[in-house]
Amino acid sequence: MIALLRREWLLAARHPGDTLAAMLFFLLVTALFPFGVGPAPETLARLAPGALLASALLAALLPLDRLFAAEAEDGSLDQLLLSGLAPMQLALVKALAHWLTTGAPLLLASPVAAAMLNLPVEAWGVTVLVLALATLFLSLLGTAGAALTLGARRGGVLLPLLVLPLAIPAMIFGAAAIEAAASGVSWRPFVLLLGALTAAALPLAPLAAGAALRID
């Protein structure tokens, strides 16, 4: 599994454009909000938690459709399925690699995005924590989605339709946590709920993805 993770890392390092595109997409979408709702600081701060989470989830969704499709096209997927790793392990590594190369870089960009949306500085730390958990949750769900839509015509369109509704709980608890931190009340319960969601997805989503990979 370590060997596969190293390979994914090497591939991402060789094609940094994908990671950079997700980061810039995230920043651009958050930058659109002030243009749409006007630059009034209070309005923006009110919008910030939801806007940050929604933009981050959309940005993390971008490279998902290539997660298994690229492997299937050049024949690597068959070889990986015969590599001795169980399909579930394969899916888990793919999900972690997606998070490391897409979700984690979004955390670096989050202070800039938070500043553009006038989020109080006290909430920035919680924002990073929430985005880390929410994007990991999306990486896991998205891996299952990518495995399911592999081989489907227009799988790239189907994937968000399948994955985003399932990400609604992460959206609710994540935004609530950031809002709580911004208004100075306890954010712990929301983050704990989000953590519980992610913990549940950690074994379940790779299991589903692995089963889907075997059928293809």
Binding site: A3, L4, R6, R7, R14, G75, Q79, L81, G84
Partner: protein, 200 residues
């Protein structure tokens, strides 16, 4: 060692082949021939455990080979039409990944297919024949009992085919088995031939 009993495969609504039986013991080779669409690649994917048989069973030393997927995968190498090389990685990085999973030495595998000295090139810079040889180099990494080869010689020049013949001979001399689908002559001495499509 490897026994196929009454194998059948269905693709879409069509029976590709049915009632297919053969057995292979150590050192033997089986050539799959037949027209396009006769099911050669399907049979190889089935033997690899990538698709389940619609009917029949595959035995390894007398017990069900496909019951434990990863264990079956560990005793075979499958060479498909696609070369499974990542264009952005160098030849050496491509092979090193598989060497980490399977064991074996990247340098000597490259040498076995005549690609020594090209390890630093990105895979996208290689010609079609060189990519094919890089895919063949995976076979040379670590010994396994069963090779499943889907038209292995496509794109190879005469020198590479003789290198490939040496790889095959060494594999069989060590007790390895080969199942190869092909339309052309392969450097495989006294191999049995199974013609697909005759039953239809």
């Amino acid at each position: 060692m490897l026994d196929a009993i009454d194998l059948a495969a269905i693709r879409g609504e069509r029976v590709v082949f049915a009632g297919l039986s053969f057995s292979l013991t150590a050192g033997e080779a089986l050539l799959l021939t037949g027209a396009n669409g006769a099911g050669k690649s399907t049979l190889l994917r089935l033997l690899a455990g990538l698709v389940p048989p619609a009917e029949g069973s595959l035995l390894w030393h007398g017990s069900d080979a496909l019951a434990d997927g990863p264990a079956h995968a560990a005793r075979l190498r499958y060479l498909a039409h696609a070369d499974a090389l990542k264009p952005g990685l160098t030849l050496e990085e491509n092979l090193t990944f598989w060497a980490r999973l399977w064991g074996g030495d990247t340098e000597s595998a490259l040498e076995a297919v005549g690609l020594q000295g090209l390890g630093h090139l990105p895979a996208r810079m290689l010609s079609a024949g060189q990519k094919r040889r890089a895919a063949l180099a995976r076979l040379a990494l670590a010994p396994v009992p069963l090779w499943l080869l889907d038209e292995p010689s496509v794109g190879l020049d005469a020198a590479s085919i003789s290198l490939f013949g040496r790889l095959l001979a060494a594999h069989r001399a060590a007790g390895g088995m080969v199942v190869a689908a092909t339309h052309v002559e392969l450097p495989l001495a006294d191999a049995a031939t199974l013609r697909l499509g005759d039953m239809a």
